[in-house]
């Protein structure tokens, strides 16, 4: 393992075993998260991004299961760990924020206690009063106004934005080395989204942690990510540094995603959409998984999919006919 990386995923496969067949939701994914950087994992709903991070945390739900692959965190292999050993790392060195702040907090427990719990699990010597003080500090840090009052609130008494801040506080309180954020802003208003993203970036700058950010929104990626992975139908189809990806988009799918971001001052043309939907993973096309939706597909694309190839330094793409053109203004 490269010790500049906090997390290295190699050949991860997580499948759903359903009655209708095996669904390869994550099918051979390699991801590196360098220390201190924010890495984006982008794709449409159902492409396997959530499953990827759930595999790291040991949260894959039945009938899903991690089939194979290595997940190396800070020099430790996670994939073979027993549940109890994994739980010692979870919440302490790796923590996670979920998509739905509405349902991700226990409705019958005060939020202060929920955050405090995260701290006290991993530091058994800490007293309740000390823990409460720390919770208050972290509440303040993540921008929760009147922290001492909020401690005593139940989740339903807080707004969505505040709840997500509580989630972030809970994730941050043990000063993790890696924060996994699974679409943390999807359920929030745009203004709140910007605040939350800024907060995450600030926390990264302050603590030097790494962030693995899952999103379907390339706009979010452009805003805060250093490096991007684009995922499609269970596989990485393109990966590059953020600027490189935006400037030299090589995969038609990434291009489609970029074109479908509405831009102020853009031409009055119709907004681009990618035709079709994510393919049924039970019946993937024989060749490239994207070929049926791809405007550039040729006969060869239907026969065989490409491998991930490096086309420029640090820029890999899985396409036998990558786009070379500059993004049109």
């Amino acid at each position: 393992m490269d010790d500049r990386n906090i997390l290295e995923i190699r050949g991860l496969r997580s499948y759903f075993f359903t009655e209708k067949g095996t669904v390869p939701a994550v099918d051979g994914v390699d991801i590196d998260v360098p220390k201190g950087s924010i890495v984006g994992l982008v794709g449409e709903s159902g492409c396997g991004k959530s499953m990827t991070v759930r595999s790291i945390m040991g949260l894959v739900k039945y009938p899903g299961r991690v089939v194979e692959g290595s997940m190396c965190f800070d020099g430790r292999e996670l994939s073979g760990l027993r549940e109890n050993e994994l739980r010692k790392i979870c919440g302490d060195d790796i923590s996670m924020i979920f998509q739905e702040p509405m349902t991700s907090l226990n409705p019958v427990m005060k939020v202060g206690k929920q955050v405090r719990e995260a701290l006290m699990i991993h530091d058994r010597s800490i007293s309740r009063a000390e823990a409460d003080k720390k919770v208050m500090e972290i509440f303040e840090k993540v921008g929760i106004p009147e922290p001492e009052k909020r401690l005593e609130c139940y989740p339903h008494q807080l707004s969505g934005g505040l709840r997500q801040r509580v989630m972030i506080a809970m994730a941050m309180i043990c000063r993790p080395k890696l924060l996994i954020a699974d679409e943390p802003t999807t359920a929030l208003d745009v203004t709140i989204e910007a605040q939350i993203l800024r907060l995450m970036k600030e926390l990264r700058d302050e603590t030097g942690m790494s962030v693995l950010l899952i999103t379907h929104n390339l706009g979010v990626v452009a805003e805060i990510c250093d490096y991007v992975y684009v995922m499609y139908a269970g596989r990485i189809v393109e990966q590059a540094e953020t600027f490189e990806l935006f400037d030299h988009t090589a995969h038609p799918y990434t291009r489609g995603l970029l074109d479908s971001i509405p831009r102020i001052g853009g031409s009055a043309e119709r907004l681009h959409t990618i035709p079709g939907v994510v393919p049924n993973l039970l019946h993937l096309p024989k060749g490239c998984a994207f070929c049926n939706r791809c405007g550039y597909a040729e006969e060869a694309c239907h026969k065989a999919g490409g491998e991930l190839m490096e086309i420029r330094p640090g820029h890999k793409v899985r396409c036998i006919k990558p786009l070379e053109t500059e993004v049109k203004a």
Binding site: M57, G58, L59, K61, E83, N84, R87, K88, I89, C90, G91, D92, S95, M96, F98, E100, T103, S104, L105, N106, P107, V108, M109, Q114, E117, A118, I121, H122, Y154, H156, Q157, M167, M170
Partner: protein, 306 residues
């Protein structure tokens, strides 16, 4: 508190409805109750005198309000058969039924919750199936069957527990188990399915991601949430438990309220039947209120009254 007050007031129309329903149903019988009382020997004058005395010559509506007025003051009429105030008869029978129901409920809830939780955490393996099979058996056995089987085994074959009620606590054990067996099955099934559903919730993932171990996830986060529907169901169980008490009291010869009701039917003793049905219904409604209160303690979302 305001929420609770609202709930209490909300039960008033239901209570009035129950009184009205029972009242009307017991009074549309052909034939005057006076005739039932007098039996074979009567003359016209006595009938008229008694009818007037009992207020049966009044319009039904007047009779109804008189009854409600009386009931509010604890007067449920006088038994045709025994010439005793129904309220007194109920008060005499009440301790037996309360003892029976409390013991049965304790048995049902403890057994039901424990086996429900055990089944849920052993999801789908042998232990789960065993517990759920027994629970379903519990739900499917008629109460009189449980009673008879228990009587046959423990009183007749083994001779370790009394056959019928004799005033001791020990003699209540068999009836309480017979009565609670059924509810224990329902509570266990509900607890299991509720706990399994809650374990799928997002906040359970959060708790795991925090680093809580599985046991702690269940005890600290899942259990309380999964108890919410179980509490409601327990209150509903009160109603079926009181139905069941009628049968266990009959099998084990317990002079409780259910027994009063069955006897009232064979004696054609309308005021007693009316009184016992009303009384048990009030208990059921009160039980539901209590469950609501408990629910609001367990679930802060309701406590605030939204």
């Amino acid at each position: 508190m305001k929420y609770f007050l609202k709930r209490v007031i909300g039960t008033i129309p239901v209570l009035l409805g129950v009184v009205l329903l029972i009242f009307i149903m017991l009074r549309i019988i052909p034939g005057s109750p006076v005739l039932v009382m007098l039996g074979e020997h009567y003359d016209q004058e006595t009938i008229e005198r008694l009818t007037e005395l009992m207020g049966l010559d009044q319009p039904l509506l007047v009779q109804f309000f008189d009854y409600v007025k009386g009931a509010l003051m604890g007067d449920l009429g006088v038994s045709y058969r025994y010439q005793r105030p129904v309220a007194d008869m109920i008060m005499d029978a009440l301790p037996y039924t309360v003892k029976l129901a409390v013991m049965a409920a304790l048995f049902a809830w403890v057994m039901g919750l424990v086996s429900g939780i055990i089944a849920a955490v052993n999801n789908n393996n042998f232990i789960d199936r065993l517990f759920m099979g027994v629970s379903l058996l519990g739900v499917s056995m008629p109460i009189f069957m449980t009673s008879l089987v228990l009587q046959y085994i423990f009183s007749f074959k083994l001779g370790i527990l009394p056959m019928t009620e004799d005033g001791s606590m020990v003699s209540m054990i068999l009836p309480a188990i017979a009565l609670g067996w059924n509810s224990a099955g329902s509570v266990a099934r509900m607890t299991r399915s509720s706990l399994i559903e809650v374990m799928q919730a997002d906040y359970i993932d959060t708790a795991k991601a925090k680093g809580l171990l599985r046991g702690a996830v269940i005890m600290k986060h899942a259990l309380r949430n999964s108890l919410l529907p179980v509490v409601t169901m327990m209150a509903l169980q009160l109603s079926s438990m009181l139905s069941g008490a009628v049968i266990t009291e009959s099998v084990f010869a317990i002079p409780g309220i259910g027994r009063l009701a069955t006897e009232a039917i064979s004696n054609r003793d309308m005021p007693v039947l009316q009184g016992t049905v009303l009384f048990t219904t009030v208990i059921v409604i009160a039980g539901n209120l209590l469950a609501d209160m408990l629910y609001s303690v367990l679930d802060p979302r309701i406590r605030k009254g939204e």
